[in-house]
Amino acid sequence: MSMEIVGDLLRLTALGGLGVAGVIAVLIWKKNRSTRVTFLRFVIQAVALAGIFYVLSYTVAPATEGLPPILFLYVMIVVFAMTIFLGRFFCGWLCPFGFIMDLESLVRKAAKTRYRIIPDKLNVALHKSRYVILLFFLLLPVVLWFLDPQPIMVSPLMAQLLAGHYRPYSILLDPLIPFIVPWKGQVIVNQVNLTYPYALSIITYAGANIGQVLAVAFVGVTLAGAFLVRRVWCRFCPTGASLAVVNRFKGFKWAPMLHIDKDEEKCTKCGVCKRVCPVQVNEVYEQKGGKIQTSQCMICARCVEMCPYEDTLKVKLGSKTLFKSRNWLEPSRNE
């Protein structure tokens, strides 16, 4: 047992070390300030992918159907707690599904293809709809339980939420399911199970036959969608709602400690921040200076990176500035 813990610690340390090494490598080699953070983000996303894969496969016996929901709940709680203070940092920097979509954007960029913009109104409507979707998934098990009460011993409602037919946490955790999950999957290549966010849930809930078709269709649609529209799923992903919901309440304005800050006086309203935003957040452009209040932003810091005016945009943690916009023209050549 103790050896296992040591082994785990070693693995986690190795992972962390890899991450740090990647970050340092980017900082040393990437001189172009207008893409530095983007590269940094890719490194962190890759490490996060490995980390999430590791956490999810931890203590789970392979090929077991009944997964310990309690572990998922822990993950959920961690993600939630993080959200209160870090906003949608998770979506921008850690989420594996987001990583998939960012990789697709890379492919698109390499193909010199343009992205499409969805109308602002639709974007906002989609953003709002994520709360409806969230509510739907949270209420569904409760409704089902009232329709068909199950004689379960301890706290039946809780049990329904955790182990009933529709487990909202599993749906909300779906974006975390990376390409490869050891114990479940749709396509088996060289004994490795490949899966895709939501694919397994669709099959589980829709039944084997229709579910297969639906899952394939879902994978196709989201892959194509993310190729055309940057981060298309993030526009209405219910997990994003659960993460962002605290930012929306007035009393909790202090809560998102990690936030984007704007200096109104330095801003010339050149509009770069609005265009480069992968989820089309307008607030950074439109709001007056100070703390940017938005629940759409996932703090990927692309706007901060691309802002051509020194000190205008900042990523702040509390009152401490983590990263600020700089004159990215500066060390573009080797220095």
Binding site: S34, K109, K112, T113, T268, C270, G271, R275, L329
Partner: protein, 448 residues
């Protein structure tokens, strides 16, 4: 299109009076000689104001001669088949012109004398920049205007709008319609369409396709120029290492110079200035009142009286910044490209020219708050002690924004002086008194 027709065959002139060839030639010779004298005199005075002027300024002195080397160079390029595309407002997307292997030049006129000629076409109430440009065209004074194969005219102020119509008596004009409320989605969409349209027009006219690679190179070239410009501006933040007039001249020569060479020369100038800053080799006492100029554009060579007065008056002032479309606004903003696809590059160019502009022709929900913010920020960063709000008579938009600028600057306790003038040398004496009084007051404030 019947472009050839417009250019070669005599068209019925809708505005311009018929002037005999002889009169044109006579006026041109006299005014050219006078202008060459003014250029030489301006430079002489700039040299005198700073006895050990940076060596790198020599190049800019040379290029500042509108009838000199650059004109010949453009002529040589033209003979090789390159097109020259002139423009009158900074909104013209020069990156597109460069990408199509054409030469962009700005053709606004700064000649005082020609504004009198412009009076034959438009009334004296009209802004002298417009009248002077008309006059210069009338007698074919401006070499760059004459060399232009087409002119991009952006309909910003009323003057520019009609100027393009008047000039269409001679030249092929491409109008660009600029939305007046800039920060709305539909405005940007509209303007981006104008940019795309301009791209097609330039491609057809020059016969060169604007490819992704060409455009990327052009954008990178303008990035490099902006970088050099910003370096120069950065140097002006500290104690004065360069006279304001010199820096203003450097900025303005960008409008007609070869972009790459300009960048290299400016970088060389910055190298030299950085060394001077290290040696604490200032051009004037660091206590000299620091002045910013804002308002109507000032065009080389004649309309150099205000900067000359400020920097030669007693007590002396030093111009550390300006907010003019003949000055710092030329290069302040880079084209922020997110992805190097044609689509995104064009959008980025559109945004850079429309949204980043602080031209008073715009308004929005906040009014032209962008300009106020820019001024406030400049005052802070460049440690400006007084602002001269320069307006020529007839320049409505700048004149009307004065009240707002004054209120904003009053709030941070920075004195503003409204200086209205004309395209004339007659009021220099009177202006001198006014400028000196203002600088006297600033000196008193600095000493306090």
């Amino acid at each position: 299109m019947n472009e050839e027709n417009i250019m070669n065959e005599p068209v019925d002139k809708r505005y311009m009076p018929e002037i005999s060839r002889k009169e044109i030639d006579e006026l041109k010779t006299t005014m050219k000689a006078a202008s060459e004298k003014v250029i030489a005199e301006n430079i002489e005075r700039m040299k005198k104001a700073d006895p050990h002027r940076p060596d790198a300024m020599k190049y800019f002195d040379e290029i500042s001669n509108l009838f000199g080397m650059r004109q010949e160079e453009i002529q040589a390029e033209k003979e090789k088949g390159k097109k020259v595309i002139g423009y009158m407002c900074l909104f013209a997307p020069t990156e597109l012109i460069l990408a199509a292997d054409a030469i962009p030049v700005r053709v606004n006129s700064g000649w005082y004398d020609t504004s009198k000629l412009g009076d034959r076409v438009v009334p004296v109430e009209v802004c002298p920049v417009i009248r002077s440009t008309i006059g210069a065209k009338m007698i074919e004074l401006s070499p760059f205007m004459e060399q232009s194969d087409a002119l991009i005219s952006v309909l910003t102020c009323d003057g520019m709008t009609k100027l393009s119509e008047i000039l269409s008596d001679y030249k092929l004009i491409w109008g660009m319609n600029v939305p007046r409320i800039k920060d709305s989605t539909q405005s940007l969409r509209f303007w981006n369409d104008e940019i795309k349209q301009m791209k097609t027009q330039i491609e057809q006219f020059t016969g060169n396709k604007i490819t992704r690679k060409n455009l990327k190179e052009a954008i990178e070239l303008s990035h490099r120029a902006t970088k050099a410009f910003r370096r120069l501006q950065e140097l002006r933040k500290g104690a004065p290492v360069i006279m304001g007039r010199d820096a203003m001249l450097v900025n303005q020569t960008f409008l007609w110079d070869d972009k790459l060479r300009w960048t290299e020369k400016t970088e060389a100038l910055c190298d030299e200035l950085e060394k001077r800053a290290q040696r604490k080799d200032w051009v004037c006492s660091p206590d000299t009142p620091r002045v910013m100029i804002t308002g109507t554009p000032m065009f080389w060579p004649d309309n150099w009286k205000l900067p000359t007065l400020v920097e030669e008056s007693n007590p002396q002032g030093i111009i550390v910044a300006d907010e003019q479309c003949s000055g710092e606004r030329i290069l302040n903003d880079p084209v922020g490209v997110d992805e190097w696809s044609m689509d995104d590059m064009l959008n980025a160019i559109g945004e850079r020219y429309l949204m980043a502009s602080t031209c008073p022709c715009f308004t929005s929900k906040n009014g032209n708050q962008d300009r106020i913010n820019w001024l406030l920020n400049k005052v802070k960063d460049w440690n400006v002690q007084g602002v001269v709000y320069y307006v020529v008579r007839g320049c409505m938009l700048y004149a009307m924004e004065y009240t707002r600028v004054k209120k904003a600057l009053d709030k941070i306790n920075i004195p503003v002086y409204y200086l209205d003038t004309e395209y004339t040398r007659e009021d220099v004496g009177q202006m001198k008194t006014r400028v000196e009084a203002f600088l006297e007051m600033l000196t008193a404030r600095v000493d306090m």
